[in-house]
Amino acid sequence: MAKHPQKPINLIKWFDPRNKSLGSWAFILNRITGLGLTLYLFLHLIMLGQLAGGPEAYDGFIALVKNPIFLAGELLVIAAAFIHGLNGIRIGITSFGIAGGKQKQLFIGLMTVAIIAIIYFAIRMFTH
């Protein structure tokens, strides 16, 4: 068998949406949100670890969390979770050979749900 040249794996190209179709956007979005969520999980665990420092630490933490910048960050996490989760459902369904021909409509539909949910949470968080 002739050999493929071993090319340098060009990570950046994964995230290049130029000239790509909706399916690639979904793929890129899923990857970014997935990685984002994983990163968040680590941060989250570190934070939780610090809570073991007693009541002062807890109060300080709550104050920090009420900070609008932090809230915005939290909203990002919520957004990522919705986008990733709902898109993940789409991938799961189509991967089992269901609605494969309707993946674009599914994506648009689920992302609309995600956007509505994100807006709902944004309003709730910032009006409390």
Binding site: A2, K13, S95, G100, G101
Partner: protein, 237 residues
């Protein structure tokens, strides 16, 4: 009736071990001509050293796949009008994810070998007309199958970009279409670099010029693989 446009072809060039670069050719074209016609004229009248692949000029052989302005196209049926405007540029590059022989030609040997090893049928029953599964065994008419083995889907696939070991859309679609999942084929497709490597970017179906819908076929193949595994688990033959 015919219009004339002035456009620039920007062509990827690579010879032997020399560094790759782009050559520009200013051309007068009829916008209803096909992208491949312009490339052939560049060879005939401007630069006899240009290497490119083509054969049938009507989308039945799959030899003329290239990346045109960033998108995979079968250049023999892509009208110039559809990829640029008067005064515009057409950037032509060889397909991605294949070894480049020279300029615009790539080596498809491994791809062909994979198509062979999954038993893709080059000739199918006419009743396959509804290519998504219906089958009428009474009919004895045959036709050449949909997949023209152009490789565009592999060029467009973000996973094929990650690893050359991934079989790729056309090959998995070929396994799905052949219907005969014998042990050799199963070993290939029911594996890390087979059907389970796909991440649902659907680029293959987007660029396929020949009604194959490889993404749908990969998903359908997964369904078949899962049901096989379930049956095997419960000991059903």
């Amino acid at each position: 009736m015919t219009q004339t446009w002035s456009i620039t072809y920007e062509i990827f060039r690579k010879k032997g071990s020399q560094a790759a670069h782009y050559d520009r050719f200013e051309m007068k074209v009829d916008p209803d001509e096909y992208v491949l016609d312009g490339i052939e004229r560049i060879w005939a009248f401007h630069d006899r050293s240009l290497v490119f692949s083509h054969a049938c000029h009507h989308s039945t052989c799959g030899a003329c796949g290239m990346v045109v302005n960033g998108v995979e196209k079968l250049t023999c049926i892509t009208p110039i009008r559809s990829v640029t405007k008067d005064g515009g540029v057409i950037r032509v590059e060889p397909m991605r994810n294949f070894p480049v022989i020279s300029d615009l030609s790539v080596d498809m040997t491994v791809f062909y070998q994979r198509m062979e090893s999954v038993g893709h049928q080059p000739v199918v029953s006419i009743a396959h007309e509804d290519s998504k599964g219906k089958f009428d065994p009474d009919d004895d008419l045959l036709r050449l199958s949909d997949c023209i083995e152009c490789g565009l889907c592999i060029s467009a696939c973000p996973i094929a970009l990650t690893t050359p070991a991934y079989l790729g859309p056309a090959v998995l679609a070929g396994a799905q279409q052949s219907g005969d999942l014998n042990l050799c084929v199963l070993e290939l497709v029911d594996s890390e670099n087979g059907a389970w490597r796909c991440h649902s970017a659907y680029e293959c179906t987007e660029v396929c010029p020949s009604h194959v819908d490889p993404a749908w076929r990969i998903m359908d193949l997964r369904k078949k693989l899962v049901s096989r595994r379930i049956k095997k688990f419960f000991g059903v033959k």
